[in-house]
Symmetry: C2
Subunit: 356 residues, 2 copies
C-alpha cells in the first residue's frame, strides 16, 4: 500500500499559499494526465479529472490546493507516524488520499469527478470551486459530492449557513457637558448587546446530526470625539443558522430579538449571506459511506464549500483526514492512522459501489 | 462711546486660526504699547499688559486670540446690530471689549493684567495660557481672574472637570461557528453600557449655581474578523464632574458603577484629566460684578481655561459677550447689545472697584 504519510509530506513540500497554487496545480495535472481513463481539464489553476464509464451515479470528490501562509512550518517533518507542516491537515492529506485513489481505482463502481481547486482559504471571490460553478458548471456536475476537508475520518454532514448583519443605531450629537441635548447611540447598544448575550441558540437535530446555531456580535464601532455624545454606533452581528432554516428566517429571528431596541431611524443591512447545506444523509452514496465504515456522523458547524454543491442541487458532505481544530495553527499535523482509515473507507466506497 | 460692533468686525477681519495668531498678536501688541501706564510683554504670540498702580487687588482679564477655521464666514458682515463671522462670538467680541477698556480706564480701581493668548481652540498642549503658567507664572499672577469666553453677559462660574477613561473588557477568541469555545467581549459591554445609560448624574448646587455632571460613552471599538468571537472591546467614557469633587472621587464613582461588570483581566486606564474649578462667587470682585449689574449667574458645565487659574489658586469665572451655543457654527454672530452690556458691567467694576 502507498505510504500516504510520505505522499502527504511530498505535497506539503510544494508550497501553495492561496493565489500561488500554479506549481502544485502543474504537478497534480501532470500526474492525473498519466492515468488512463481520465479526461483532464484545467481552468486557471483548477484541475478537473473525470471518468466516463457510463455509471448511473457520478460522485464528485473535491479538495482545495491552497493553504494558509506558513507559521514557521513550511518544511514538512515526519516524526514516527505523524507529519507536521502547513497544509498537512488542511488539506494536503486529503489531496494525497484523492490522488492515490485516482491511481488505485481505475474502474470505480460510480463515475468520478476529481476536482482540485484554488483559493479556498481567502475571500470567497477567489474561490476556484465558485469560479467553476459559475464558468464551467459542466465540469463539476454530479449526483453527489464529497469534500476532502479535515474531519478526522468522520462524516461532517452539510454545513451551517452564515450571515452578517450591520445594525446602525442612531442618536443625536451634543457636547458631553450637555448630554441631555442629545442622545447617546453607544448607550443604546447596551440593551441590544445584552439581548444577544442572553440569547439561547437553537440546536436542531437533522438526519441524526445536532447543529448548533449562534448569534455573535463580531464588531462594534462608534464615537465622534472625546467630548461629543455620539450619534451613531454600528454593531455587526454574525448569525450561523442550521440548514433547516433559510437565511430569511434567521434574519427575521434576529430582528425579533432586537425589536425592543430598534427604532425607525436605525438601519439594518445584510452585509453578506452564505446559505446552509442540508446533511443529505439519505442519499445512497453518503448513507453507504456512513454505514459501511460505521463512521461517526456529525454536523458541520462552520461554513464550507459543500454549500456550493448544495446550492447547485448536489448533496454533499465533508470527509477527510486530519484534525480540523489544528488547521491554521503552528501545530498543524496529520496522523498516518487518519490518512489510512479515510483512504480505506473511500476505497471501499469506490470499488463496492453504493450498497452497504 | 466706541462702536464695539465695528471694533469686533475689525478684529474678525484679521484671520487668526489657531497656530496662526502672529498677525493679530502684532496688532494687539502695538495697540497696547500705545497706551500709557501699561507694561507690555510678549511671549511667543502671547501678549500681556499690566498696570502697576499699587492697588491691593490685581484682576487678570484674559482672552484667546485664536479662532476655529472659518465655515464660509471668514469675512465679517454687519447687518443692523448684528455682526456675523468666525470668532465674532468666540471670542473677538470679548477681545474688543478688553482692548477698549484698556484705553478707556487708564486708572482702574484694581490693578489689571490683560492677557491675550494663543492656541485655545486646539489640543491643550498648544494652549498659550498654559505655556505662560508653566514658563512665566509671574506674568499671569493675580488675585482673581475673568475669562472673556462668550457667556452672553452672564457670569458662568467655575467649570466642571473632565476626565476620559478607557475601559477594556476581555474575552476569549473562538470561531463564531463554535462560540462556546470562547467568550464574546463585545457582548460583555452590554451590561456596562446599560449601567451608563441608567445612571442618574449628580446635580449639586454650589454658590447658587447648579452644576450637572455627566457620564457618557464617547467611543467604542471591538472586533477581530467577521467570523471570530472578539476577545476585546474598548469603551471610552467621558466623565464631567462638578467642582465639589476631585477627579479621584469621580473616577471611583464610575468604577463603582461598573463594578458588576469588571473582572480581574479587564483594564482601566485614565486617558486624560482636567480638573474642575469652583465657582468662587464669594470673592469680592466676582461677587461685586454679579451684584452691581444684577447679572445672571450659572454654572459653567464645559471645561474652560478658568480651571488653569483655579489650579494656580486664582479664583476665576467666565464672562463675555456672545451666545456660546453659536460658537464654532456657520451661524456664529454677536449682538451689539451683548457687547455693550458686557462692556458696561466691566467698566463699572474697573472704575468703582470691588464694592457694590
Amino acid at each position: 500500500m502507498v505510504d500516504l504519510l510520505q505522499r502527504t509530506a511530498d505535497l506539503v513540500a510544494v508550497a501553495s499559499v492561496s493565489l500561488d497554487e500554479a506549481r502544485l496545480a502543474d504537478l497534480v495535472e501532470a500526474e492525473l494526465r498519466g492515468i488512463d481513463g481520465l479526461r483532464v481539464d484545467r481552468v486557471g489553476d483548477n484541475v478537473i479529472a473525470r471518468t466516463d464509464l457510463g455509471r448511473p451515479i457520478r460522485l464528485v470528490l473535491a479538495g482545495h490546493l491552497d493553504t494558509v501562509p506558513a507559521n514557521d512550518n513550511a518544511v514538512p517533518r515526519i516524526d514516527g507516524d505523524t507529519l507536521w507542516g502547513v497544509g498537512s491537515a488542511d488539506m494536503k492529506g486529503g489531496l494525497a488520499v484523492m490522488l492515490t485513489l485516482a491511481h488505485e481505482v481505475p474502474a470505480p463502481a460510480v463515475d468520478l469527478t476529481w476536482v482540485f481547486y484554488t483559493g479556498e482559504e481567502i475571500a470567497s471571490t477567489h474561490n476556484g470551486l465558485g469560479h467553476l460553478f459559475r464558468d464551467r458548471p459542466d465540469l463539476v456536475a454530479g449526483d453527489v459530492a464529497l469534500l476532502g476537508e479535515p474531519t478526522d475520518g468522520a462524516i461532517e454532514a452539510g454545513c451551517q449557513g452564515s450571515m452578517r448583519i450591520a445594525i446602525t443605531l442612531a442618536g443625536r450629537r451634543a457636547h458631553t457637558a450637555r448630554p441631555w441635548m442629545g442622545r447617546n447611540a453607544i448607550h443604546r447598544a447596551g440593551r441590544l448587546l445584552s439581548a444577544l448575550e442572553g440569547y439561547e441558540a437553537r440546536r436542531p437535530v437533522l438526519d441524526g446530526c445536532e447543529f448548533r446555531e449562534s448569534v455573535e456580535a463580531v464588531a462594534i464601532e462608534g464615537g465622534v470625539a472625546g467630548n461629543v455624545v455620539p450619534d451613531v454606533v454600528v454593531i455587526t452581528v454574525n448569525v450561523r443558522f442550521a440548514p433547516d432554516r433559510s437565511a430569511e428566517q434567521a434574519e427575521a429571528d434576529l430582528r425579533a430579538l432586537c425589536s425592543d431596541v430598534l427604532e425607525p431611524d436605525d438601519e439594518w443591512k445584510v452585509v453578506d449571506v452564505a446559505s446552509a447545506a442540508p446533511p443529505s444523509l439519505d442519499h445512497p452514496v453518503l448513507a453507504g459511506l456512513r454505514d459501511r465504515g460505521g463512521l461517526e456522523v456529525r454536523a458541520k458547524l462552520g461554513w464550507t464549500d459543500v454549500a456550493r454543491f448544495a446550492a447547485a442541487g448536489i448533496p454533499a458532505a465533508n470527509f477527510g483526514p486530519g484534525d480540523p481544530t489544528l488547521a491554521h495553527t503552528p501545530e498543524e499535523r496529520v496522523e498516518r492512522r487518519s490518512l489510512d482509515t479515510t483512504y480505506r473507507a473511500l476505497f471501499d466506497l469506490l470499488t463496492d459501489g453504493v450498497g452497504p
